[in-house]
Amino acid sequence: MINAQKIVLSDDMYCLGIESTADDFGVGIARSNGEILANAVESYIPVEGGIHPREAARHHAEVANKTLLQALTTAKIKPKDLTAIAFSMGPGLGPCLRTGATVARTLAAYLQIPLVGVNHSIAHIEIGKLETGVTDPVTLYASGGNTMVTAFESGRYRVFGETLDIALGNCLDVFGRQAGLKSQRGLPLGAAIEQQALRGKTLIRLPYVVKGMDLSLSGLVTSAVTQLQKGNHSLEDVCYSLQEHAFAMVTEVTERALAHTEKKEVLLTGGVAANNRLQEMLRIVSEEHGAKFNVVPKKFATDNGAMIAWTGFLAYSQGIVTPIDESYVKLRWRVDRADVPWIN
């Protein structure tokens, strides 16, 4: 990263962002004033099981052209009007990240405009801030690959609590597959579990593992699957119990961070943010602490290119550019290792 001089953004600047950390390939276009002009996404849907990184990467390469064109057409922007190309640099799956990075490098080199590497987790927080208007929240970022509670403190987004093993979305997906639930039209299995849970009545006791500010979900999913296989409980009841336990755990950790930092805003972001019950729990806890609860709009909850484009702008405005020969993807780029000079 080169920290050049800060760049003053004018209103007619456009940044194109490419997202490809996991199963989604997204291209978004943001205007420097925060307007999102396009947000095209193509999702890889595995025939069976979870995401196969190589297959997902192959999918991304196949749809890249089409998705790019779709975004440019929707935004009514010509490539020559673009100011910068941003891309998801990590964390994520290697083959998927590299595919998106290759597209981004090619575009930047061809158009001779700057390339900006963006931290995927920070992009989820920044798009949430942009769309909801919060400025300094305690954020619960819960998706298929990440579950963490972060807040900005002395120069960085600090991790106050996180999963010690699998992510919340992953926990729901694994259970959903084991339970034989089918996803509908690209919706994650979490949505199918949520539907089942609405009809659940009896709470089954499952492991509730909070360790300090961290939590563990792998034992919970194993236990939920076992309960289902034993056949003593209905699918509805197991789905209900799984959700209540898992969401209460992340809510408890969020509450601890809220009490510790005394911040006045809570932001829910990431793919699992679409779940109504999780939203409800966090709303209750926020109100108890006199904090305003905000949730990222659904279309920006899952992985998308718009969040990369917008965060690319934030970084670019501070003079952050990524030379092509230093644009290696970072598979394990933790949120607390990334600079965020645009805050404060």
């Binding site: 964390p91 106050f160 709470l203 360790k211 300090g212 933790r334």
Partner: protein, 222 residues
């Protein structure tokens, strides 16, 4: 709850429980009440609160056998998930070590290490080791409090997690000197449990850290 003084003062509003200062038959005391959490189903909430209250009370008792100083318990009220215990006059270690001289800080950290060592020697796990959960009194004795997430556990894993959580807490609250302090704590721990065992526990801690998501160090193991 019988014969509580009418006057109770809110000492601390925590995420999980509220602490009130009160009077227990003429002695200053603290009531710790685990509040009802409206976000989780009542049955689950009741189970979690009762579990943590009874565990905390049992552990506060067992720690004394291990030689670790903790507040005395006066009364446990399960239906209310509250504990009345001794009031410890002192400062949180969190505040103290931020202001203390280097040499003082080292002394305190050694003492913390010894306390954790004594706990672990008896297979007692604190579960939420932070410098806010340690109170230093005027005589220089450290009291460990807040055992709600604690347990009795013989596995190496539990001890490893305990040290991991303390390390994380130091990193986020004392980020300018956490490394020195953590090493001093390990020194104290070693005094109680010996080099070999300490190395085994800390090796486990490192393993737990690598299990986390997106950790650079994990590369070497792939």
């Amino acid at each position: 709850m019988d014969k509580l003084d009418q006057q109770t003062v809110l000492l601390k509003k925590g995420a999980e429980a509220n602490l009130y200062l009160t009077n227990w038959h003429g002695r200053p005391a603290v009531i710790k009440i685990r509040k009802q959490k409206k976000y989780r189903p009542e049955a689950l909430d009741m189970q979690i609160r009762s579990h943590r209250t009874s565990h905390e009370a049992q552990l506060l008792h067992q720690t004394k056998i291990s030689g670790v100083t903790t507040p005395l318990i006066y009364m446990v009220n399960m239906p209310e998930s509250s504990i009345i215990m001794e009031y410890i006059q002192g400062v949180q270690v969190k505040q103290y070590i931020n202001k203390a001289q280097k040499i003082e800080r080292e002394k305190i950290c050694l003492q913390i290490g010894e306390l954790i060592g004594k706990l672990h020697k008896e297979n007692l796990i604190h579960g939420d080791l932070t410098t806010s959960n340690m109170i230093l009194n005027e005589q220089g004795t450290i009291f460990l409090v807040d055992f709600g997430l604690g347990e009795k556990n013989t596995e190496l894993e539990a001890k490893g997690v305990d040290l991991h959580l303390l390390k994380r807490a130091l990193q986020s609250t004392h980020f300018t000197f956490w490394e020195t302090s953590f090493n001093d704590i390990l020194k104290g721990y070693r005094l109680v449990l010996g080099d070999k065992f300490t190395e085994k526990v800390y090796e486990k801690t490192r393993e737990i850290e690598k299990r986390g998501r997106y950790i650079e160090e994990r590369k070497k193991h792939l």
